[in-house]
Amino acid sequence: MSVLRRRGGVRYAALLAVLGPGLLAGLSDDDPAGITTYSVLGADYGYQLLWVLLLSTVALVIFHGLAARMGVVTGQGLIGLVRQRYGVRVGGAVLAALVVANVGTTCAEFAGIAAGFEIFGISRYVSVPAAAAIVSLLVLRGSFHRVERLLLLVSTVFFAYIVSGFMARPNWGAALHGTLVPSMPLTGEAVAIVTATIGTTLAPWGLSFMQSYAVDKKLRTEDLGLERVDVVIGAVLTGVIGFFVVVACAATLHRDGLRITDAADAAVALQPLAGAAAGTLFAVGLIGASFLAASILPLSTAYSVCEYAGAEAALDDPFHEARTFYLTYGIITLVGTGIVLTPDIPLVKILVGTQVLNAVLLIPLLVAMVGLGRDRDLMGSYATGRAGTAVYGLTTAVVVICVITLGVTAIT
């Protein structure tokens, strides 16, 4: 009995040691753009489209798992591998698109912080610079472990959405039916929201962060089994949080026929319908989600830039050894903050453009990942086999169809 208990304890400790990349990369996908998409999905379509979350969770498990495996086996981040395998031109083009998209997404995260705090009457001119300073200090001053623990601590704020979902008193039977039985109205708007849900869950920056972070965490091939558990936990939690956001909005806003345009709208609208506490929790969740993603976006960009340029980059490195890494982090944070605080800037256009760029960039990135994962020169015995390639190919095809459909519905 004591041996079994000890074995269980060792396994638990080993999982704790590995836990992090999958959890952070997954949960940071539930950023303001994600929460907004889930809120609109619930408010406009009730429980009917919950099955989409199941689909996007599976896609997240599949591709975050591949990213972690590639990082652990090759010891390199995604952009570094793309440069090594496909050359400087392809690598440079992917990096340029990723940096532009990441700057735009960073704006979305700081806009989320601004909107979340404005619900509590705090001006964005206070909240956004303060948040930028906190995330910068966190990364500049903290060791890898301190940064990881703080980010995991911030992630616990997502439980606010789960509590908020319960407080909305949803129809659980309808929610279960919507999750397991796919159906959708055949309208352009429904197709767009389905595509946006998949697109917001599987983001280019999330994939590159996942791989780079697994490298920086110094995971070994012996840790891959537990890292898969980390990826599954992260993806499932991401889906569960999305589920509760949809459920909260479906049980209140959809029931009363209220329409919203963003997550902050949802938090305000929830207050009279599900109680002040539910609305407040929703707003707190939005701030926490924005803060987590605002920390990770510049980090993901800094990793990618350094991998391409060949500069050393690790959270444990001091500034003088990793200038490119820290300067990139600082510049992305500064530009994101500056754009959000600039009066009369067309923020909505920037955010929409960013979503489009993310969706378009996702396609070559997924294709490159499938190709890299199959490469026996790079992956050795960990290369993807035929069955795995078929699964990755099928998932990529679904994402490509979604992106093309979104493009067509946007034009027509």
Binding site: V10, A13, A14, L16, A17, V18, V73, T74, G75, Q76, G80, R83, Q84, G87, V88, R89, G92, F144, H145, V215, K217, K218, L219, R220, T221, D223, Y308, A309, G310, A311, E312, A314, D316, R323, T324, D377, L378, M379, G380, S381
Partner: protein, 295 residues
Amino acid sequence: MLWPVLLLTRVLGRTVSGPDGKAVGRLGDFIVGLSDSSEPQLIDRLVVSRRRAPALVLPWALVSDIRAGRVVLAATGTELAGFGTASLTQALAHDEILLRRDVLDTQIVDVAGQRLARVADVLCARTRGVRLEILGVEVGFGGVLRRLGLGRLGLGRIVPSISDDVVAWSDLHLTSDRGHLVQLATPRSAVHRLGARELAALVSRVDTDAATEILAARESGTAAAVVAASHPDVGERMLRAMTEPEVARIVAAMPAEHARRWRQRLAQSPGLFGRHILRSRVWPHRRHLIRGPRE
């Protein structure tokens, strides 16, 4: 006499033709034997890529000229039929690497500068007739900009950190899996010239497997000195990954007090399943087939 520097990325993809001027294929890669005892590191063979046909792996003796825009062979296409190969890895001898696959755009450790960098280009020079000698690798961002066609922007003059930066061939350790293993097996490689302090800096930058391979390749006294010069966490990470006889060999070579402390440390189970032991710089970890010496 050395000719002007030739950049690998500028010769790759060039047309390879026979003495009759008829194209045979395109230059796909160069093969280098790292255990060659001659002082300059010369390129030994070249890989010619062909459309809808296996690549050709040709000895350098078949090259009659290498000049701007073209590589000229001393043999015609029909005479080269026996040099075709289905697998480049299988065609390599135990001490050979491919410059494009195993060096270009991969990470290296500059053992003199003690830093990790990515190869932007490989610098060669013509010597001994048409032989090509490898001088070193370019690691700055300037090389990347040049390959992107942005070299004329002169950003290197504005931002010095992106200017060209060359690491001598004798001062680098390759991180590509095959490069690492071949260099480790080659007595004249940089890794075998390093003292304990330099080796300690190197193993702190590599993953556990590569670090233990480096340590295991050294005699007991040097390995013990490397552990002593390393951060205790790095030393523990390496020793825990080694077999008991190897650990006993290295610990026995330490001074008595030092050995006693290490035996005590290794006897304790690592806290939280070695979470901090996972903290070590990772090395690109690939496993290419390394065959024995050619018959």
